[in-house]
């Protein structure tokens, strides 16, 4: 009987250790790793993954000055082109939810970006995705003007859809 209890204790300890062992990597793993979803459009990126991971900020900064000041609008390294391919299928955006392409890594690396204070996070032609954008707001405004009445935000959203 004593032996049986001892065996049971050994088994339980081993099980507990195994359980603890299985749990250990998750505890020491730190923050959850970023989710990197393959781009929706396009076969491959304009440069290798390694290059883009290290240098995307440099090429984007360079491109932005050329585009704004000189009017050079080449597509390689343009932020609009990044968004075109990398916008998530779920949200249609690169920065709307925490798993979206840009946000996913940037929140993991704790690097705050202000690109999307000004730039749209969605590709061209995704009007349905912003029900309150100026296009639909303007459309609602026109409707309201012809009807001679004010229109609510909910109604505007409906009109956009």
């Amino acid at each position: 009987m004593k032996r049986l209890v001892a065996l049971g204790a050994v088994i339980l300890t081993a099980a507990a250790l195994a359980w603890a062992g299985a749990d250990a990597p998750a505890r020491t793993g730190g923050a959850p790793k970023p989710v990197i979803v393959k781009a929706v459009k396009g076969e491959r990126c304009v440069e290798s993954n390694e290059f883009m991971r290290r240098n995307h900020m440099k090429v984007l900064n360079h491109q932005r000055d050329e585009t704004v000041i000189e009017g050079i609008r080449t597509k390689k390294f343009s932020l609009k082109q990044c968004i075109e391919c990398h916008a998530s299928e779920k949200t249609g955006s690169v920065a709307a939810s925490k798993d979206d392409f840009c946000v996913s890594c940037h929140s993991y690396a704790a690097v705050k970006i202000d690109c999307f204070d000004c730039h749209s996070t969605k590709p061209q032609g995704s009007m349905a995705m912003h029900p309150l954008n100026a296009e639909s707001a303007h459309y609602a405004h026109k409707l309201a003007a012809t009807a001679g009445s004010k229109i609510s935000a909910e109604e505007m959203a409906k009109v956009a859809r």
């Binding site: 009017g71 609008r73 609009k80 920065a95 749209s120």
Partner: protein, 261 residues
């Protein structure tokens, strides 16, 4: 040795003469291209490849014929807000501080009661006061004469708004919550104004949203084009009809000219 030298110089003589002839022909051809600016400048203006910078061979400008500008018509303003993604002032929660890239003015002579309609926007000065006063260099004039704000360096101090004699600039006071157009980035804390639809110009459309809307509405009060090209529609019109600059006394050499004011 001497004879050889002689020979070689003899050889050189006709060759260089030929070269001179060739050069003069080439020069004439080049001059011919320059003389026919209809061909060359239109190419520069409308077919600029996307990897080429904007060129100072072009100067974009607009002609507003206020005699054709209709009372109560707001097509140009709506088209601008749709193209560039700014909320119409009537829609805004804070109309007094709402951004406004173009606005319609209705003026009346107090003596004769004659009414004049015209759109007012950035006049795209050749000597822009907004560029003079900008402390960070964010307000700048592009090579093709379009006056823009580089939002990457704008700190929102609003000196340019005070310097502008045309009240053409606005500050974005509120977060836009990702309602911007992909082609037209704009955001909180930055000054903005009419860009002559720079995204359309760079695409090679050769026109702006307000001009398209005015033409579509059948008023034809607006003409957009290259002021440097003597064969462009706008240059021909400017030669034909008398036009004025608003506040011509400031000597800013405006890109927007008005007829009938």
């Amino acid at each position: 040795m001497n004879t050889m030298k002689q020979k070689s110089s003899e050889n050189a003589q006709p060759a260089s003469a030929e070269r001179r002839r060739f050069m003069s022909v080439a020069g004439a051809t080049a001059a011919g291209l320059a003389i026919a600016p209809g061909v060359m400048l239109v190419e520069v203006a409308h077919g600029r490849p996307e990897d080429q910078p904007a060129s100072s061979a072009v100067r974009w400008g607009m002609l507003v014929d206020s005699t054709k500008c209709a009372t109560g018509c707001n097509e140009c303003v709506s088209a601008c807000s749709t193209e560039n993604g700014w909320t119409p002032v009537a829609e805004s929660k804070h109309p007094k501080q709402a951004p406004q890239w173009i606005r319609k003015l209705e003026l009346q002579d107090p003596l004769t009661h004659h009414e004049t309609n015209l759109p007012m926007m950035c006049q795209h000065c050749a000597e822009p006061p907004c560029v003079d006063v900008c402390p960070t260099g964010a307000s700048f004039k592009r090579a093709d004469g379009i006056v823009l704000v580089n939002r990457h360096t704008c700190i929102g101090c609003r000196y340019c708004m005070m310097a502008c004699p045309y009240k053409a600039r606005s500050l974005v006071h509120e977060n836009l919550h990702d309602t911007q157009k992909p082609d037209v980035p704009r955001g909180i804390g930055c000054v903005e104004s009419c860009t002559f639809c720079v995204q359309k110009v760079d695409r090679g459309d050769g026109t702006t949203a307000c001009v398209e809307a005015c033409t579509a509405a059948g008023h034809n009060a607006l003409v957009f084009g290259d002021l440097n090209d003597p064969e462009s529609e706008i240059s021909k019109k400017l030669r034909e009809i008398p036009t004025k600059e608003v506040r011509a006394d400031l000597n800013l050499n405006l890109g927007v000219r008005y007829h009938g004011i």
